[in-house]
């Protein structure tokens, strides 16, 4: 199948490249009845649980439920509706907008060749029930969600940080977390290895990628004119051959004139 052709000539001029507040339009939703299998699944689901909203997006069933029901709904999906795989579980940060996390469970059925997504929203201060007893793959996914987003999970047998170190402060995937880290993050390795009193000696991180300072404190930035630590910059060219001028004991000197340059590959 070929991807649909889109003219990308003026793509730089489009508003989403310049408008910081551009909101990407969401993919059109279809009604659940438009797909036979999903319609049947949804009918069964509706008899047992309270469903806030349901629709089909990109050929996948999306069901929005109450967060208290998450365990029962997933168990129902696994046992009754034949979705044996939990392929992904994570959270989205809507804290600034609604003070809530949106948690989603992405399910896969091989027999039906369908994917379904179960979503629910919880407040920042509340917690979601762990589903690792239903889907084993939820174990690490929930730990990751706890680690990076700070979503609390109840009744998980081993809820500790998965990716960040145990003594890390903050949850890096929240929208409010600065990309270059808060203070604790910026000094993390210094504090841990040497202790806080070494902060002054080692100094803050240099994070400006465009920084050019030919006469910095170490004076060795000028390529070809490097000087030792702390000395004044000079115009003298530095000798950067890999052998001393008087040759090396036991090692043949490399002579440029003896080398052969190949213009084509052999």
């Amino acid at each position: 199948m070929m991807r649909e052709y889109k003219d990308r000539k003026n793509v730089q001029k489009k508003s989403y490249y310049t408008d910081r507040f551009y909101v990407v339009p969401s993919i059109p939703k279809e009604s659940v009845e438009s797909d036979e299998i999903f319609a049947e699944d949804f009918k069964k689901l509706k008899e047992h649980f309270k469903i806030k909203e349901a629709y089909i997006q990109r050929g996948q069933l999306v069901v929005i439920i109450n967060p208290e029901d998450n365990k029962e709904v997933l168990k129902f999906f696994r046992d009754e509706l034949d979705y044996p795989f939990l392929s992904e579980l994570s959270a989205n940060d809507y804290l600034a907008k609604d003070g809530e996390f949106e948690i989603f469970y992405q399910l896969l059925s091989l027999n039906k060749r369908k994917r379904a997504r179960v979503k629910c929203r919880i407040k920042e201060s509340s917690a979601i029930e762990s589903v690792y007893t239903i889907y084993k793959s939820a174990d690490w996914a929930e730990r990751e969600m706890f680690d990076l987003m700070g979503v609390n999970v109840n009744n998980h047998y081993n809820l500790k940080r998965l990716i960040m170190p145990d003594d890390w402060e903050g949850h890096p995937l929240r929208k409010t977390y600065p990309l270059q880290g808060d203070e604790a993050a910026q000094w993390y390795e210094v504090d841990k290895i040497f202790g806080k009193e070494y902060r002054d000696i080692i100094g803050p991180e240099q994070r400006d990628p465009a920084r050019v300072d030919r006469k910095d404190t170490k004076n060795f930035v000028r390529i070809g004119h490097e000087v030792p630590y702390g000395e004044k910059p000079s115009d003298k060219k530095t000798h950067t051959d890999y052998q001393e001028e008087d040759g090396v004991f036991f090692i043949d000197e490399f002579k440029k004139s003896n080398s052969k340059v190949l213009n084509t590959r052999r």
Binding site: M164, P165, P172, Y177, P178, L179, Q180, G181, D182, A185, Q186, Y188, E189, V190, K192, I193, I201, I202, G203, E205, Q206, R207, P209, Y229, T240, Y242, Q243, E244, V248, F249, F250
Partner: protein, 169 residues
């Protein structure tokens, strides 16, 4: 018994070469730089390529070791994360003196393109570095050049002095 006289001091009179012990020791050291395999990210691929047959590090006496106790040069090849920084320092401390460090690639030098909360912005924040090797990723030739420059540096040092404590910043 041979009747002729050998001029021992003459060049190529006998297989004898005169040198200082200092020079000899440092020559030996510089030609058996065993490197700690320390591949952290994509630069490690280039480091492995330098060790493989085409670029053949063995001819410099640089053989990769998987233990800091047997290594004298640490080639930091790749992105050092803050979570891992502690272990890098520990491995560096475990290496026997004399020891040297090559920081390979932009990530190890300055954090490179990973200007984020989780990357150490230059390994020289935690261990002293002897050679900074720029590039993303540096080609195997460049790593060879770095090793040769390190050999030159070692030949200049004195063998029997304790290594000067290196400045960290």
């Amino acid at each position: 018994m041979a009747q002729h006289k050998v001029n021992y001091l003459q060049d190529s009179g006998l297989p004898i070469a005169l040198t200082t012990v200092d020079k000899l020791v440092q020559w030996g050291r510089s030609n058996s730089l065993w490197a700690l395999t320390y591949g952290l990210a994509c630069c490690a691929i280039e480091m492995m390529a330098s060790g493989a047959s085409r670029y053949d590090f063995d001819r410099f006496g640089t053989i990769f070791r998987a233990s800091p106790r047997q290594a004298e040069v640490m080639i930091i090849a790749g992105t050092l994360t803050k979570k891992h920084a502690e272990f890098t320092r520990r491995l560096y401390d475990q290496m026997a003196e004399p020891k040297w460090v090559i920081s390979m690639g932009s990530c190890a030098n300055t954090g490179g393109m990973f200007n984020t909360y989780s990357t150490v912005q230059g390994v020289d924040r935690i261990i002293p570095v002897d050679i900074y090797l720029p590039g993303c990723a540096p080609r195997p030739e460049t790593l060879q050049y770095a090793v040769m420059m390190l050999q030159k540096k070692i030949r200049k040092e004195s063998a029997f002095q304790k290594q000067k404590p290196k400045r960290l910043v």
